[in-house]
Amino acid sequence: MAQEPIQDQVYRASTDDPETFWSRQAENLYWHKKPTKAFQRTTKHLEKLNVSHDHWSWYADGEISTTYNCVDRHVLNGNGGCVAIRWDSPVTQQKETYTYKQLLGEVETLAGVLREEGVKIGDVVLIYMPMIPAALFAMLAIARLGAVHAVVFGGFSPAALAQRIEASRPTAIMTASCGIEGAKRPTGYKAMIEEAVQKSSHKPAKTVIWQRDQLRYVISIHASYVRYILTLCIQFQMGSYYEGRRTTQLATTGQECAKQRTEGRRRTSKEWRWSLYYLHLWHYRFTQGRRSFGGRSCCRPELFHEVPLRRSWAWRCTVHGLGYRMGCRPLVYW
């Protein structure tokens, strides 16, 4: 009899004995506190509905940092010189390259800024950004603080953005001054953010902006919503950039960043002891499916606040675990 293909063997191992299989997979990651057990079957009771259903949990007592595993670990292992991100932007005629070491620097700095702005463990930070490296820094920095990131694609309408702000109640919004869709002119995000915040009953305390040269985000202090927003303009690529009256904060932010960097280095084991969660907001579920055009699609408003919450540790276990092996090789995504 022919030997069973390895993919089938791996699959069978995962379903026959999840505990052993996923414990072994977990060994491929760095845990700030190793889980004593991988899998647990539980029962969930819902009082409001008076029903109970079977449920499960993974790595219940483990503690792990996604950012540490994605970035720091490689630098500490001597791979800081490997390229982490290549950015190719035909719409702006720009290209950039970041090594793991540079990426760590960006993420540490930005995490310091966010912490200074009051982002804490468990807070939600909403990302509304185009496809630029800063969007990745934002995700990793938010995760580093043990906060939750809610990604909304840059370019969503103010109404759609407002719904997501209301649903996730973010402490801060991270955005950019503009997005560029194909050959069209840059779309300013300022008006979109302002209108969305105005429409939403929840007012995020802070907006952190990545200034792009193609179209800058000019802060208008006369806008009616300004009392709700303390808009903070940061060009985190080139140090800190402030407009108008926020210049006094420049110095403090600079200092805090430097502090964060040193603290990050010194207190590694303690600093990252957070269970990381992230959430994914998506509001529309189409009853009529994905291949539909305009009139046919409709959304299920009852699922409006759907936000699955999941442990974010696990990419590697499945992605690499079943052989999406990328080594030090590039991956393009669209």
């Binding site: 993919q7 995700m139 994905r290 092996r325 590039p330």
Partner: protein
């Protein structure tokens, strides 16, 4: 509104693109542009060439957009002939169903110009799953030993199928009562508990909605995916449509995906979307929206008789006369909103 859906899927990919390559210490190429028009339909292949890309992840809608602008794959062929695409080992497709015609076309191109054994891998996942639920593993040996350098020959692909279940996902096909159906029969795609560790375990601050939206339909026994499809005898999963995309024509149930698949076997059709339009007699009639893969796109919205008849014939042959189209409209843009690209 498919664009929104694609974007939603892309939100998942954004995480895939950030966390997965970084976790393994790879390089991720972040692209700010579109598959066509920035500046042309060759931009993806320029990137593969320039950055020596080994694995590319995209949505079939991007490939369809390229096919619409570059029907003869001149851009791909030109770079391929120069030997510039030899690094590419796999083209992963996700975000929506990949019809066999697009998979087969790119599989031929990959075999001709890319790394030995290069594959088009359709894989299926959702926001809820957090990682692929089904697919084909390129280095499956890593599932047992992470540092393994062995590269056993991967399972073969079956165009139209999104591969086999990935570790930790117990995928089943059941009828409306939750009873498993025979292999090869279409039904509701569900998953047994537990889901793999990447998957969600609840909804944000809403345990009740998690139960109502995913667990209640099959009484807590299965997690509902909302997708409809089938699993064949060797365990390959085909996702045909959203469960509510199944249309009822004269008491026959058809997945719109299967009809779209038949339409796209026509060489002049780049993309197809089928919807059910109400019909007093039959309940529903399938109605198709198509875009053409020709260089010159005609102005009119009604396809010429020759094309209409040919497409109708394909549907009759591949699905059955009962699924004959109730109408067809052709357009220039694949998506009503170009933002999706």
């Amino acid at each position: 509104m498919r664009d929104l859906n694609v974007k939603q899927s892309l939100t998942s990919y954004l995480r895939l693109a950030v966390y997965a390559p970084l976790l393994v210490g790879a390089t991720t190429v972040l692209f700010e542009g579109k598959p066509v028009g920035t500046p042309d339909a060759g931009t993806f292949w320029r990137i593969v060439d320039e950055y020596k890309v080994t694995t590319m992840f995209t949505a079939p809608t991007a490939l369809r957009a390229i096919r619409r602008d570059d029907g003869d794959n001149e851009f791909f062929e030109r770079r391929g002939r120069q030997g510039a695409l030899k690094t590419l080992r796999a083209l992963f497709l996700a975000g929506e169903r990949s019809e066999p015609s697009i998979v087969e076309m790119y599989q031929k191109l990959l075999a001709k110009h890319c790394a030995p054994g290069a594959m088009v891998v359709d894989n299926w996942w959702s926001s809820e799953s957090g990682s692929p639920i089904s697919g084909i593993a390129l280095s499956a040996a890593a599932g047992f030993d992470f540092s393994s350098q062995d590269r056993p020959t991967p399972l073969s692909i079956k165009p139209g199928s999104a591969g086999k279940a990935m570790p930790g996902f117990d995928v089943r096909v059941v009828d409306d009562e939750g009873k498993e159906v025979k292999r090869g029969v279409m039904g509701n795609i569900v998953m047994g508990i537990p889901l793999a560790p990447t998957a969600f375990t609840t909804l944000w601050e809403d345990e009740e909605r998690f139960y109502k939206g995913y667990m209640k339909r099959f009484d807590g026994k299965w997690v509902d995916t909302g997708d409809a499809g089938m699993i064949d005898n060797s365990g390959y999963i085909s996702i045909m449509s959203r469960a509510d995309d199944v249309i009822n024509v004269a008491a026959h149930r058809f997945s719109t995906g299967a009809i779209e698949q038949a339409i796209t076997t026509h060489p002049s059709v780049a993309e197809a979307a089928v919807v059910g339009i109400p019909d007093a007699l039959k309940g529903h009639l399938p109605f198709a929206f198509i875009t053409l893969s020709t260089h010159e796109h005609p102005e009119g919205a009604v396809p010429d008789d020759k094309l209409a008849n040919e497409v109708q014939k394909l549907v009759r042959e591949q699905i059955g006369a009962i699924a004959s189209l109730g109408g067809m409209i052709q357009g220039k843009a694949s998506c009503l909103c170009t933002d999706c690209m």
